[in-house]
């Protein structure tokens, strides 16, 4: 089973780290995985996105024409990706910043007030991990322990941040 997820948002919201953490978790579970970032001209405040493909078999293309899951951390991402999601797919929307007005009814919308939850935790910058927690629960692609384990690799240069990111993951996981 091949599952593709697109993470999108403003540069600085941590959309690439979300994807990286998911990819890391999938790798720890022994799955085939590719991680493809948008790159180069992205800056804080601009738009950024990445695609993660996870499969039990060899992954052909790292590009997603019609992803199963899309995470939209901001309004432009909602507009850009809502028509690409596969029918029956899940659309994760950061309801703190995004007003969801969808023109299609064949996908399920999961609203997560990621910024509000992160602020309650006292760590506004962890909104991405809140969202990843919610995605982990609803998507069932990887397990929560793997995502938490993956944090140790992706944050190996900033070990102090592991605890708060773990907390944010759990909060997101429990919010949906």
């Amino acid at each position: 089973m091949l599952i593709k997820t697109i993470f999108a948002g403003f540069g600085g919201q941590g959309v690439l780290s979300m994807g990286l953490n998911l990819a890391q978790a999938a790798m720890l579970e022994g799955k085939n995985v590719t991680y493809l970032p948008s790159y180069g001209a992205e800056v804080r405040g601009g738009t950024a996105n990445c695609t993660v493909a996870i499969s039990d078999e060899e992954i052909a293309s790292p590009v997603a024409s019609s992803p199963e899951f899309v995470v939209a951390m901001n309004q432009p991402s909602l507009v850009r990706f809502q028509n690409q999601i596969q029918s029956g797919g899940l659309f994760f929307i950061n309801s703190s910043l995004v007003e969801a007005e969808l023109s299609r009814g064949d996908i399920e919308v999961i609203s997560v007030p990621a910024n509000s939850i992160a602020e309650e935790l006292g760590s506004p910058r962890s909104a991405n991990m809140v969202m990843l927690g919610a995605l982990t629960k609803k998507s069932n692609v990887v397990s929560l322990p793997s995502v938490i384990e993956g944090l140790k690799d992706t944050l190996k240069n900033k070990p102090k941040l592991i605890a708060i990111n773990k907390k944010a993951l759990m909060a997101g996981y429990n919010a949906v």
Partner: protein, 350 residues
């Protein structure tokens, strides 16, 4: 690991002692990796040069001194290195040059493209020479082919180009390294490291005697024939019963593979031939397929470059279609599937 970092790690494990680079997107992570890791190794040099031209000439110098040396860049920077590559070829010196190519012509775009096929496979600089050109299509293969590139460069005393693209350089995949870095990196025996106790050697790129240069050209040509015979490599995918063969390299082959899997699900008998060495091009393999099927679809992220080699290989025996997206546009598997289906049904295959 990103593709760029994987090349760096594989190069270090292949015994690369000199890396010389100049920044350009989308290959900066490779330069960064070498700055962090190669510069720490004993006897190794990392230099961020003042220009691409300086970087390739540092490779030239390091190679003359007998060590394994590498440089990397992306399309516009690779153009600047062509003079140096021609000199390396003339001096019969090994070197590894990595091109994480991007859209062109000119400064182009920073997105992944395959428009440097001609430049890479036809020599690129002035004079009658070729470089071995390797085209990986996954991060694992980037690592494996980097190792192979250093071995080939030494075995045939020739510059080897790894033709990747921005997407391959930027994407992450799990990767396994099959070799440990050598304790003592190899040093070539014909290097220039001081002539104490032996007659001096002369390595030069200029001669006033045309016959002498003709002899060099013949000797290079004979080596190229040997490389064609020994090193031509390609991969095939679901070709046994295929009525339509897609020919694609690098990341385009990855995208095509996704399309072919879906085509198979829909009952279309489609397979793929993926050249791993772009030069030497697997012409023999293409010709072999022409005995079984008539239809070939060449898919590239350019306006049609490898398609010329496919046509030459077929010698008019097959029907060759082309589909390309230039400029750094990344086609999707479903887009390629539409093209496959269109040709499949138009030709009445079923």
């Amino acid at each position: 690991m990103t593709g760029n970092s994987a090349v760096g790690e594989a190069a270090i494990r292949a015994g690369c002692q000199g890396y010389f680079g100049y920044p350009i997107t989308p290959q900066n992570e490779l330069t960064e990796y070498m700055a962090a890791h190669l510069s720490r190794r004993r006897g190794c040099s990392f230099v961020q040069a003042e220009s691409e031209i300086a970087a390739i000439n540092m490779v030239y110098g390091a190679s003359l001194a007998g060590v394994r040396a590498m440089t990397s860049s992306s399309s516009p920077g690779i153009s600047l290195k062509q003079e140096g590559i021609s000199y390396l070829a003339a001096c019969e010196l090994p070197a590894v040059i990595v091109n994480m190519s991007r859209g062109g012509p000119g400064l182009g775009s920073i997105s992944a493209a395959q428009s440097d096929y001609f430049q890479a496979t036809r020599g690129g600089g002035h004079g009658d020479y070729r470089c071995i050109v390797l085209a990986p299509s996954s991060v694992q293969e980037l690592a494996d082919l980097t190792h192979r590139a250093f071995d080939l460069a030494d075995r045939y005393q020739i510059p080897v180009i790894i033709l990747g693209d921005g997407m391959l350089g930027q994407m992450m995949e799990p990767v396994e390294f099959k070799h440990e870095a050598p304790e003592e990196p190899p040093v070539r025996s014909n290097a220039l490291r001081g002539a104490k106790g032996r007659p001096s050697r002369i390595i030069k790129t200029f001669t006033s005697k045309p016959t002498e240069l003709e002899e060099l050209n013949w000797s290079l040509f004979r080596r190229y024939q040997l490389i064609k015979k020994e090193e031509t490599t390609c991969e095939t995918f679901l070709v046994e019963d295929a009525e339509l063969i897609v020919v694609a390299f690098g990341i385009a082959a990855r995208i095509a593979k996704g399309a072919i899997k879906n085509a198979r699900t829909a009952g279309l008998r489609v397979g793929m031939l993926r050249p791993v060495t772009l030069w030497p091009f697997p012409a023999e393999a293409v010709r072999e397929f022409a005995k079984r099927t008539k239809y070939f679809l060449v898919f590239e992220m350019n306006m049609g470059q490898m398609v010329e080699d496919v046509r030459l290989a077929l010698e008019g025996k097959g029907e060759v279609f082309f589909y390309g997206r230039p400029g750094g546009v990344i086609p999707t598997p479903s887009e390629v599937l539409r093209v496959i289906s269109r040709h499949y049904y138009q030709e009445g295959l079923r």
